[in-house]
Amino acid sequence: MTSTLQREAPVPFLAPGVLFLIVFMAIPVGLLAFYTFFTRGRFGGIVFDFTLDNWAKLFEPLYLGVIMQSIGMALVVTVLALLLGYPMAYGIAGLSPKWRTVALVAIVLPFWTNFLIRTYAWILLLNNAGWVNQWLQGLGLVDEPISMLYTPQAIIVGLLYMYLPLMVLPLYASLQQLDPSLREAATNLGATPWRAFRTVTLPLSIPGALTGCIFVFVPAMSNFVIPELIGGGKTIMVGNLVRDQFFEARDWPFGATLALVLTILLVIVILVQNAVSRRLTEGPRRG
């Protein structure tokens, strides 16, 4: 490209956006980081009294426990989404182009209904007096309603439901890009369909799977609405802890600390994913 463009163009174009993001993203996030070293004010806000307690508090078993539990639950959700989403994406990739579009739209469509309403729909379903229990009892499968709502399992179902489309889409994208001739070649060389899948399709779809895992893990980890509404307040995740520090406990510095730790964890996960998928995509070429 021409060097004149490079020299003149950037500044007037970049300045407004960069400035805006500095003021409304970098400074607020920096402010949070700064607040983590100070003491809470009585009604929220902050008292400028230096302390490392907020960081020390993270390692109290109680809070460490909530963080570990959130990671655990987000992982379970991610694995379930992969197990359910992979065959779905694989199925869609095999459809005729016309049906493929319909199938994809059908995956995305629930996403456009307000997510709170979708969450509440699960309350209608899983409630002791809810539809699933009514059906089970109607079919004579159970006598007493089964308690399904307000359990950690219900939270996992709710999160899985919320983020499954985010797993299917990138998986579909990577499966779709596979060259069918590769698989053909494998079968022509005598590989069984399963072996062809395992040696050709599966490895090449891993980057898509990794992206999907990130798309599911990251929001699942910080969601606070689903644990509250579907979990009955009995199981709390990091997101709830952060929210409660701001609106119930009024401990902004500790809330800020938790949110930053959450972000750092997620950034690490994303960096690892990036590194892994780069190695994977570069690998075959070198070999």
Binding site: G44, V66, Q69, Y150, G232
Partner: protein, 366 residues
């Protein structure tokens, strides 16, 4: 170490409080020169109330009566409104409805204006007891809107008996496991455990709080859920058999299922008061006082009792209440004496943190 932290926090906090007090003293003391003849139609009013806690046409009614252009907005919890009130120096709200202990704390912080009683003649309609409540004696910063207590709201057909003690909730019979809910907000989470053990619900004694915490953690697995907002529907739908409930909210369940009953456990409970306060930052204080006065009109406040089914501290209003309503909703019949025997929730200043920590720990423990 934790104690060191608490002391440091407390010291820093009181410094901040002192600073806040001095910086706000200009507004706080000056029993401001409010103009009794101010042209109210020149003023506008923004009132923040809990949702569904007032007549739908309240703004129009008040506007018709006084000419003040009124906007009513909603908040969901005390924490919610207090956070917004303290987050900025001018939250754009003139009158805020908060529970008594919050009115106390906000008043001490200089966030509330002292009420100008000359503009609130309807205060005389209140029960004398309603002027001597521990969180704001003499109603300096707040006038009561509704009051009540907390107890067990239950369905006798599902419990099979009439509970009498907080222990019926804290240590439920095996057949009630998974069929009870507790409040999780603020002081109401710890209240049953503190009262059951014979402690004050305003205690700041670490050992007593520790004891309550242990009890609550033990109770947690027996609960269906923590629920501050829909517990009465859970009774109606039969999901729950017994719930910790504010008396007025239990009535919402009774309205749908008259077999539902309410009892204040024998160990006693709280006296909570929802109050009306005026913000120091308000530029429409005359209109704000007029609004409070308007609410204290017996006819207006009767509406609260009749429609919200909460008791109101307004003697004239309660006496005007239809006895048939009290028959249907026995909690409305709890007398002022019975009510004022319960312990008033007061703000604990820096020790509030102890309750905040207790709640966090109970809710985060599996």
């Amino acid at each position: 170490m934790p104690t060191m932290r608490r002391i440091a926090t407390a010291a820093a906090g009181s410094l901040a409080l002192a600073l806040a007090a001095t910086s706000c003293s200009t507004g706080g003391d000056a029993t401001e020169t409010l103009d009794p003849n101010a042209d109210l139609s020149e003023q506008t009013l923004t009132v923040s109330i809990w949702a569904d806690y007032y007549p739908e046409d309240l703004a129009e009614q008040f506007e018709a009566a006084t000419g003040v252009k009124t906007t009513i907005v909603n908040h969901t919890t005390n924490e919610d409104i207090v956070a917004k009130l303290t987050a900025s120096s001018d939250p754009g709200i003139d009158v805020a409805f908060v529970s008594g202990q919050y009115a106390q704390a906000l008043g001490e912080q200089g966030i509330l204006a002292k009420l100008d009683k000359s503009l609130i003649p309807n205060e005389e309609n209140l029960y004398p007891e309603a002027l001597e409540l521990a969180y704001d004696e003499g109603n300096v910063y707040s006038e009561p809107y509704a009051w009540g207590t907390t107890g067990l709201c239950y369905r006798p057909d599902l419990t099979g008996y009439d509970p009498t003690s907080w222990n019926d909730l804290l240590d439920p019979k095996p057949e009630l496991v998974g069929k009870t809910t507790m409040l999780s907000t603020d002081r109401w989470l710890s209240m049953p455990a503190l009262k059951a053990a014979g402690h004050s619900l305003n205690t700041t004694d670490d050992a007593e709080l520790e004891e309550a915490k242990a009890q609550l953690i033990e109770t947690k697995p027996t609960l269906l859920a923590y629920d501050d907002t829909t517990f009465y529907s859970k009774l109606v739908s039969g999901e729950a058999a017994m719930v910790e409930a504010w008396d007025g909210w239990c009535n919402y369940g009774i309205a749908e299922d008259p077999s539902i009953k309410f009892v204040v456990p024998e160990e006693g409970a709280d006296l909570w008061v929802d109050t009306m306060t005026v913000l120091e930052s308000s530029k429409n204080k005359e209109a704000a006082m007029a609004f409070i006065d308007y609410i204290l009109d017996p006819e207006v406040q009767t509406w609260v009792a009749e429609n919200i089914l909460y008791k109101v501290p307004n003697k004239a209003a309660m006496e005007a209440l239809d006895p048939a309503l009290i028959d249907s909703y026995p909690t409305l019949g709890i007398t002022v004496d019975e009510l004022t025997q319960q312990e008033t929730i007061v703000d604990l200043g820096e020790d509030t943190v102890k309750y905040v920590d207790l709640n966090a720990e109970v809710l985060a423990t599996n």
